[in-house]
């Protein structure tokens, strides 16, 4: 069984319907995706391409119009299938009247975590998503990013074998984002499986190994993420030195029959700048 797909979508089709059952929108038009155990898989695509719809079907929240979805070989409507899954929805709306600790306790109970372990697990998860100071805050008092992190803790509370994450890093500051991505990497290192969506490749470059690109409800491309991102026949250098170094590199390249396709000053990403600012001592790091 270890080779069997943890997530399997075969010819998955979904047409949204209104209250009276009239078709409104064909969101998925035959999707085939398989995620194997231990893999981290990204579902990419622009807004409205059907990523969230696919995940909702996989969690049993929607039923496919045609085709089938399987979790661990079971239909997602089986609670036993969902028992091995942790889900982070796109918008993390949790019950506003519960505190963070109560929310985790509720979901631990729903996941069948024994009473004796619940408190310790909630404390551990709150620490890992850096909400330990907010344990007694009610959900409606949390900021957007804090809510996301709480929802992530909820997804992790059942020690899932499969993590299903819909836009996991949306709304998080880069500091927290790095920590959250580290959590996902750790999940995969421990042998867990990951299915994550995003419309930003860069966001999940560090965690996903394989990806499917959705467009208008069909899989446009699928494969190894590293392979897909490689620009065939091109290499990248970052050079220290003045204008002379620039010229020398161009000459050397021309001498062997190559061509400099792109050059310019190397910049750090805005996120690196952010990390740099808040991580250096005295840089105003938030407590």
């Amino acid at each position: 069984m270890s080779d069997a797909a943890v997530v399997l979508c075969r010819g998955l089709t979904k047409t949204y319907r209104d209250f009276w059952g009239r078709a409104t929108f064909p969101a998925l038009r035959g999707i085939d995706v398989a995620v194997r155990r231990g893999e981290s898989f990204a579902l990419l695509g622009p807004n409205g391409s059907g990523k969230t719809t696919t995940l909702r079907i996989l969690l049993g929240l929607l039923r496919p119009t045609a085709g089938e979805a399987r979790l661990f070989g079971l239909p997602p409507t089986e609670p036993a299938a969902r028992a091995r899954v942790g889900f982070l929805p796109e918008e993390s709306a949790l019950h506003g009247f519960l505190t963070c600790a109560e929310t985790l306790d509720l979901h631990a109970r729903l996941h069948g975590v024994p009473r004796g372990e619940r408190r310790a697990r909630a404390a551990e998860l709150l620490a890992r998503v850096r909400l330990d100071d907010a344990a007694k805050k009610r959900v409606h008092e949390l900021s957007h990013g804090m809510r996301r992190r709480l929802a992530l803790a909820v997804a992790l509370v059942g020690r899932p074998e499969l993590l299903v994450l819909d836009e996991p890093t949306a709304g998080m500051d880069p500091l927290v984002r790095e920590e959250i991505l580290a959590l996902f990497r750790e999940h995969v290192t421990r042998g867990g499986t990951l299915l994550v969506t995003s419309h930003l490749l860069g966001d999940i470059r560090g965690i996903a190994s394989r990806a499917a690109l959705l467009a208008n409800g069909v899989v446009a491309r699928e494969g190894d993420l590293g392979e897909m991102l490689r620009r065939e026949g091109l290499r990248r250098y970052v050079v220290r030195g003045g204008a002379e170094a620039d010229a020398a590199v161009a000459q050397a390249v021309q001498r062997v029959g190559g061509e400099v396709v792109e050059s310019g000053p190397a910049r750090m990403g805005i996120e690196e700048l952010f990390l740099d600012t808040y991580r250096t001592p005295g840089g105003g790091a938030p407590s």
């Binding site: 039923r63 019950h95 009247f97 996941h111 929802a151």
Partner: protein, 436 residues
């Protein structure tokens, strides 16, 4: 690693969530409203004498508490799931490894328990409010339970047989006040002659080898229950007792139908009696929560609340509906009979016959009305009557609510609760969770 569904634990988790959700809506404040109702009823209920005022106030207060509790069962149960769907919390909840049956049943349990807690709180607060408002334990006679002592079959007290003896065992606590509290429902029998109606008879108590107690003259109106307090200071609780009814003077005799004479048992605390009556209401609260829960699995908040309130109005008005349906059917039967008679009469007149075929059905009730009436009666046959759950009549009459009433209420409520849970499960299982 598979964690197989531990059904009940998850159901309880959902139930607790629903209790917290209802509590977060601050419905607990209704307890203060109940206190105010109790206080106001004790102060301002009109009535001819203290006993009548107390009875009316008790009925008002218990009815108000019951109505509040029914609303507390209905509204949160109708809104919890639609609010979760709209707010998005339903996605995390239903993606968790919990079956939708557990979500529905847990909701019914949570909302039912919460409404029951509010009911108990309201009853307690309302009785306290009455106490503070001046209608306390001392201002009201303690409610008592009545035990039927006879007669076994209808018995007459006539000129020929001027005495009726009823032998019985004293119920526990019957002599708590030094008097025996007796309730009789006599009918009058005219034995001919004068037309004046005598409205008094006499009752005595006696035990073997003891002098009879003083007899008591009881004024009465035929067909109406009367309550008599008989001196019982010399009675021994362990001995068999005989109650004797003496024929009144004049032209009238008495008739006692079977089981029309009752003797009071131990007095109870008014609050305890109200709480027993409240317990009888709990199955109704669960029924309401289950019905509202079923509606909430299909509809959004406003529709679900509307459906539930409409159903409640129909449920409380079921007697009106039943009477109206029976009236329609009676009228239909009468006009059909009249029609048949007219038909026989006009047999020879072929022209009129053809004319009458146009209105083959009777005159003033349409087929649609008859169909609706039949349908309504068929549905109502499956609906438990309101007074199985509502013991407000006993509270008003100062009677102890019998323990058996609790069992009857539970039995009357259970099938409906089960039916609504299954209906809700069926609807929620097919439901797609998309924010509207």
């Amino acid at each position: 690693m598979t964690r197989v569904a531990a059904g009940p634990a998850r159901l309880l988790a959902v139930a607790e969530l629903r209790v917290r959700q209802a509590h977060a809506a601050r419905l607990g404040w209704l307890v203060l409203l109940a206190f105010a109702v109790g206080f106001g009823a004790a102060r301002w209920t009109p009535g001819t004498d203290a006993a009548a005022r107390a009875a009316a106030a008790d009925r008002i207060v218990f009815g108000a508490c019951a109505a509040l509790a029914v609303l507390v069962a209905a509204v949160p149960a109708a809104t919890a799931l639609p609010l979760d769907v709209r707010g998005g919390a339903a996605r995390a909840l239903l993606a968790a490894p919990v079956s939708r049956l557990a979500v529905v049943a847990g909701g019914v349990l949570g909302h039912g328990v919460y409404a029951a807690l509010v009911l108990v709180g309201c009853v307690g607060a309302a009785v306290l409010g009455q106490e503070v408002g001046g209608l306390g334990t001392r201002a009201r006679e303690a409610p008592r339970g009545f035990v039927v002592v006879g007669p076994a079959a209808a018995a007459a007290v006539t000129r020929a047989e001027p005495e009726l003896d009823i032998a019985f065992e004293l119920p526990a606590g019957a002599l708590a006040t030094g008097q025996l509290d007796v309730r009789l429902r006599p009918q009058a029998v005219n034995e001919g002659g004068e037309l004046e109606r005598t409205s008094e008879f006499r009752v005595t108590l006696q035990q073997p080898r003891r002098p009879p107690e003083a007899d008591v003259v009881v004024p009465f109106t035929p067909g109406r229950p009367v309550r008599a307090r008989l001196p019982a200071g010399g009675l021994d609780h362990r001995l068999p007792t005989t109650l004797t009814v003496h024929r009144p003077e004049g032209a009238w005799g008495l008739r006692f139908d079977a089981a029309s004479i009752e003797v009071a048992g131990a007095p109870r605390l008014h609050l305890a009696n109200c709480l027993t009556a409240a317990a009888c209401l709990v199955p109704l609260l669960f029924l309401v929560a289950a019905g509202a829960g079923a509606a909430s699995t299909r509809f959004g908040t406003p529709t679900a609340v509307g459906v539930v309130l409409a159903a409640l109005v129909l449920f409380t008005g079921q007697d009106v509906l039943r009477d109206a349906s029976e009236y329609v059917l009676r009228r239909d039967a009468r006009s059909q009979a009249a029609h048949a008679a007219a038909h026989e009469h006009g047999e020879e007149d072929a022209q009129e016959d053809a004319h009458e075929d146009d209105h083959d059905h009777g005159a003033d009730v349409s087929l649609l009305q008859v169909g609706l009436a039949r349908g309504a009666l068929a549905v109502l046959a499956a609906v438990p009557p309101l007074d199985v759950f509502d013991r407000g009549a006993e509270i008003g009459a100062g009677r102890v609510v019998a323990r058996g009433a609790l069992g009857r209420a539970a039995v009357a409520g259970a099938p409906g609760v089960a039916l609504f849970v299954l209906l809700g499960w069926g609807l929620l299982a097919r439901r797609e969770i998309v924010p509207r």
